[in-house]
Structure formats: C-alpha cells, structure tokens
Amino acid sequence: MSLTTKEAFAKLPAKLHRFFLKYPPRPFKAYSEKPSTIDDPSMNPFLPNKNPVTGRWQEPKYSLRRSSDLFKLSYKFGISDLIPPLPKKFYQDKYDNKNFMRGMLRFKKHKWERTMEDRVEARTKAIKEMDDIIVKQRPEYKKIIKKRRASQRTWW
C-alpha cells in the first residue's frame, strides 16, 4: 500500500518537525558548510559561529550528540540531506571517506631503509664504471687495463 504525501508527512516525528520549524529544510534555505557569523542568514546551527560584535566564538546551537540524533532519525525517514550539513560522517560514508593517519598509510621507516635503494643503485653504477673513474684520476691505469685485456682468456 503506497502512501500519499500528506499521509507520509503526518508520519514525520515531532523532533524533526520542531527542528524544521526553526531551520527550514535544505532546498528552501541554504546552510553554509563552514563556520560563519551569527548574523549570517545561512548560519549552520551544527557548527560554531562567531559573534562579529564581540569577536567571540559561540558554541554550536546543537551539540554533536543532538545533531547526531537528528541525522540518524532523518536518515531512517530518507530525509537526511534536508537538514543542514553536519561536521560528522555517518554509516558507510564514515568508512568510505575516512581520513587515515599519515603514518598508517606510509610508514616512515629508518633512514638506512629509506635511502637504501638509491645507495645500492649508486654503488652498482660505480662498480660498473670503476675503470673509467680510476682512469680519470690516474691516467697510467690505462696500461693495466690494456694488459688485463691482453691476458684475458678467449674461447679461441
């Protein structure tokens, strides 16, 4: 049995109803996602807001516990996107968009571990080009290279 809009609206819990009387649902009124000032018409009651006259921050109108209650209740009735944006994530969204700690995503390791790859590469390169490096510093080393090549065993 499908419900009509009027019947469905009659099912709206009093807690949400009273909230919407104070803060109309989203498309009818815009709410800022970031903290603003208390005289801002798009002031978000779930966030702390600044008093421009005194320069002091005011606590959110709804505590995290009360705002969570409102979200969870509205979620059950499929209208969670009508209430102002919350500073918290819920349910699957909370796990999908999780901000992991840097240390959990990439370990720092020891310094020798971090630099090992570069050092090994540099070492292998230096061993490979050893003769050239020595010749550059000591030109008479060419003779030794020549001698060595002459005495080298070949298949013939």
């Binding site: 499908s2 419900l3 009509t4 809009t5 009027k6 019947e7 469905a8 609206f9 009659a10 099912k11 709206l12 819990p13 009093a14 807690k15 109803h17 009273r18 919407f20 009387l21 104070k22 109309p24 649902p25 498309p27 009818f28 209740l73 059950k76 009735f77 499929g78 209208i79 009508l82």
Partner: protein, 303 residues
C-alpha cells in the same frame, strides 16, 4: 610491715619455682605425708589458673570421665581445684587411712571416705535431657563454645551462653550456683542501681519543653506584625536601577530582531517533505524496519 608479710619471704612458694624444682619439692613433701594422702598432681602457677569460662564447666555441672579407674561414669562436680586443675566429683570417693591421733569426733575406723581428685583433662562436660517419651538421656560435649552473653540473675553477673562445638543448636545451660551470691560490704543494692542521679545534657535536647516558649513570649506582641509597612519594605528591598541609554538601545534592538517562531510549515515545504518520506517508506520491504518506523511515528505534532 607485719610479721606475716616478712614471714612470707622465707616460705616456699611453689608457684615461683620452675617446673622441675616444683616437682622435687612436692616429692620431698610427700615423703612426710601418709601414703594415701600423697599428692600426685602438680601445682600450677597463678598465671595458669583457669576461670569457669575457660574450663567450660563449674560446680554443679555434670561431667563424663574418659580415663582411669572410673572411666564411663557421669557425676556432678562438687568442687573445682584451680591450683591443681582437678575436680572433686560428688560420687567418686576413695578410702584414705587416718592415724588415730588425727581422728575426728565420732570416727570409728582408720578408713574414711575422701573425695578423689580427678585431673581436668580426663573429664568432658555432660548434660542431662529428656526425649519425647519423657526418658532421661545424657549428652557429652567433646568441646564447648561460647556465644553471646546474658545476665544471669542466679550468679548476679553476665555469663556467656554455652554450646556443644559443631552441634551449636544444643545449648548447655549453666547450673544453679551451689551457694547464693551474697552482697559484700562494697556492693550496691539492686534498687539503688536503677535510681537516676545524673542526666546527660546536649544542645540537641532543649532543657525546657517546647510548649514553654508561648508562655515566655507574647504571641500577640505588636512587634510580631506579619505585614510590613511601606517604609520597612523599601528598606528591605533594593531599588531597581535605571537602565543606561546603551542598554535601552540594545534591548529595543533585540526586541525588533526577535521574530516569532512559525507554528506550522508552509504547504510547499510540507508537500516536499511528505513526498520524500513517501518515496522512502514505499521502498521499504523489511517488516521489522517498517514496524520500527511506525513506532517512531507515534510521537508526532498533531494538527
């Protein structure tokens, strides 16, 4: 210092001697006593004397003999000797020989009946009771325990209750004392004890009855007026301070900015929310979730 006091210094006090010397002195003494009057039990020092609550029995109690010649007999305690830790029982008698020069009046034999001293470790406390048929039976307590205390009017003192150990539902009452305790020179009479001669005084307890206040003070006094005059009221209440200009401006602004809270959502908003809820609820198939949402919907604002 009396002569008796000085004499005591040169007397042999067995209780002051060590145990081995004590036995030796007893042996020496026994050399000069008649063979039947030999004392076989050692004398205890004063510190080891036992009271009736330590031994568990007193004169008049029944005891069961567990060792020796009279093993298995039940008898009444005639006297308890604390010096020897032994008992004289009413039925346990032995014959003793007395030389003729020590005979008392009307004695006609060398042999006399004399109560036998029985060591305390060879007796157990016994008690007599009647069963359902009215027949007498005895119980013997291996050990006794004391629990609680009560005032015994026969002994004129507080006594602990006596029970058989491990069978603590069996109480063995104390026997009647052999002689009634007599009032001494320093003892107070019973009736005098209950005479109230002193009363504890405290701030929490007023010395006079509370009803006396109305007699001491005039309840209709003119100084006791319940209604304050205007002057008195003005003196007691602080005046309301006039508001400054800034405060007045602030309050006027605040009143202007305060708009009334709407009591109802507009038709447009109602339809929008109703549509969203209808779409969501119509898509739900789980009966348990439906029942849960129905329960949540019971608390609504009725129009």
């Amino acid at each position: 210092m009396s002569i008796n006091h000085i004499k005591r210094r040169y007397q042999k006090d067995l209780t002051k001697l060590p145990k081995i010397f004590r036995n030796r002195v007893v042996k020496q003494n026994n050399m000069f006593t008649l063979p039947t009057f030999e004392n076989k039990l050692p004398i205890l020092p004063k510190e080891e004397y036992k009271t009736m609550t330590q031994t568990g029995y007193t004169e008049g109690d029944l005891v069961y003999i567990t060792k020796g010649e009279h093993k298995g007999t039940i008898s009444t305690i005639f006297r308890y000797s604390k010096e020897y830790d032994g008992l004289f029982l009413s039925d346990i008698i032995e014959k003793k020989i007395i030389p003729k020069d020590q005979w008392f009046d009307q004695q006609d034999s060398f042999l006399v009946d004399y109560p036998k001293l029985i060591p305390a470790d060879s007796v157990k406390l016994a008690a007599k009771d009647k069963n359902d048929k009215g027949e007498d039976y005895y119980i013997v307590a291996e050990e006794v325990v004391f629990k609680g205390k009560y005032y015994d009017d026969r002994y004129k003192k507080w006594l602990p209750r006596r029970f058989v150990k491990h069978h603590e539902h069996i109480e063995v009452p104390w026997p009647n004392p052999p002689t009634e305790p007599k009032a001494g020179e320093l003892s107070t009479e019973g009736e005098t004890v209950f005479e109230k001669t002193w009363e504890f005084q405290s701030l929490s307890v007023p010395p006079f009855p509370s009803t006396i206040v109305n007699e001491l003070r005039n309840p209709y006094s003119k100084h006791k007026a319940r209604v304050l005059t205007e002057l008195q009221a003005r003196r007691l209440n602080k005046p309301t301070m006039p508001l400054s200009k800034e405060q007045q401006i602030y309050l006027a602004k605040k009143q202007q900015s305060e708009t009334e809270q709407p009591t109802e959502l507009t038709e447009e908003v109602q339809d929008f929310i109703g549509e969203r809820i209808a779409n969501h609820l119509n898509s739900i198939t789980n009966p348990h979730l439906k029942a849960h949402l129905d329960a949540l919907s019971k608390n609504t604002i009725n129009h």
